[in-house]
Assembly symmetry: C2
Homo-oligomer: 162 residues x 2
């Protein structure tokens, strides 16, 4: 029996393990720690919503989302991660997780859920499209990393008036 | 003289006007109101950071960003909008706005700034690439809108245990 629960502070170590497994799958390095997840997810001002999926007593996957904002549409949720461990695939775990993230989005009055999918991850693309997601093909995603931040911030720092 | 200030509650009406101008430029409909911007931006738990650029006493543009979260990297800023009014382009207003958003990101200890650019907006792409931004070309952006949310939430609602 698959069920989903909200992550709690005692899950910080488990979340870190699951995030590392997700990083392996996505071929991306993971730079976080149990301490940071504990502070960011379960402190006085949580920065994300965590969901843990179980198959009975066994941990089958997780989802992580944060509050995003559209100037045109108001509050939304951004689904940062949705991950199902290999041995639990094909059992509806991903659907159960997505269902609970969408319930959260409805509770929060969100305009919708935004997410990124890596273009080589065909199963993920098909999964979200079956769930009704639209690909916003006009949008490119960009990132300004720290070395650029420093340079850009210096450009005009003196003009900050408030 | 270009300067940038943090938006305040008295700017909600001005922000709405600027957001509508941005919507016109991006060919996107705007579904928000002064009341919503006031509540979401300037209440006890602000959902975004607003920045107003002025050329002397004249309003030249704005930027709007929200706190985002990477499970792999921690806290970030998502730059949702950066807009310069037509008559103020070529004066460094965009750079001044981006400079202050990056200063904010550094103050907040962010791993970086994420943003989307529409693929037909070549000037915006060039602007952000000159500022050091990388295009994450593997990422597709998807959106689950309300009608899909309802269907997806119903799928497995009964299994939510906490």
């Amino acid at each position: 029996m698959i069920h989903v629960r909200h992550a709690e502070s005692a899950d910080a170590g488990l979340l870190l393990q699951l995030i590392r497994e997700m990083g392996n799958q996505e071929r991306m390095p993971v730079f976080t720690s149990e301490e940071r997840l504990l502070k960011d997810g379960f402190g006085p001002e949580p920065k994300f919503h965590g969901f843990i999926a179980q198959d009975g007593m066994l941990v089958a996957g997780y989802a992580l989302a944060f509050d995003c904002y559209s100037s045109f549409q108001g509050s939304g949720l951004f689904l940062e991660d949705l991950f199902v461990r290999g041995e639990f695939r094909g059992k509806g775990v991903g659907k159960a997780l997505l269902s609970h993230v969408t319930s959260k989005a409805i509770d929060l009055g969100c305009f919708g859920i935004m997410l990124n999918v890596l273009d080589w991850n065909e199963p993920a693309l098909r999964f979200f499209e079956r769930a009704g997601a639209s690909v916003l093909s006009e949008r490119k995603t960009l990132c300004l990393m720290p070395e650029s931040l420093e340079d850009t911030a210096r450009f005009n720092f003196a003009s900050l008036t408030t």
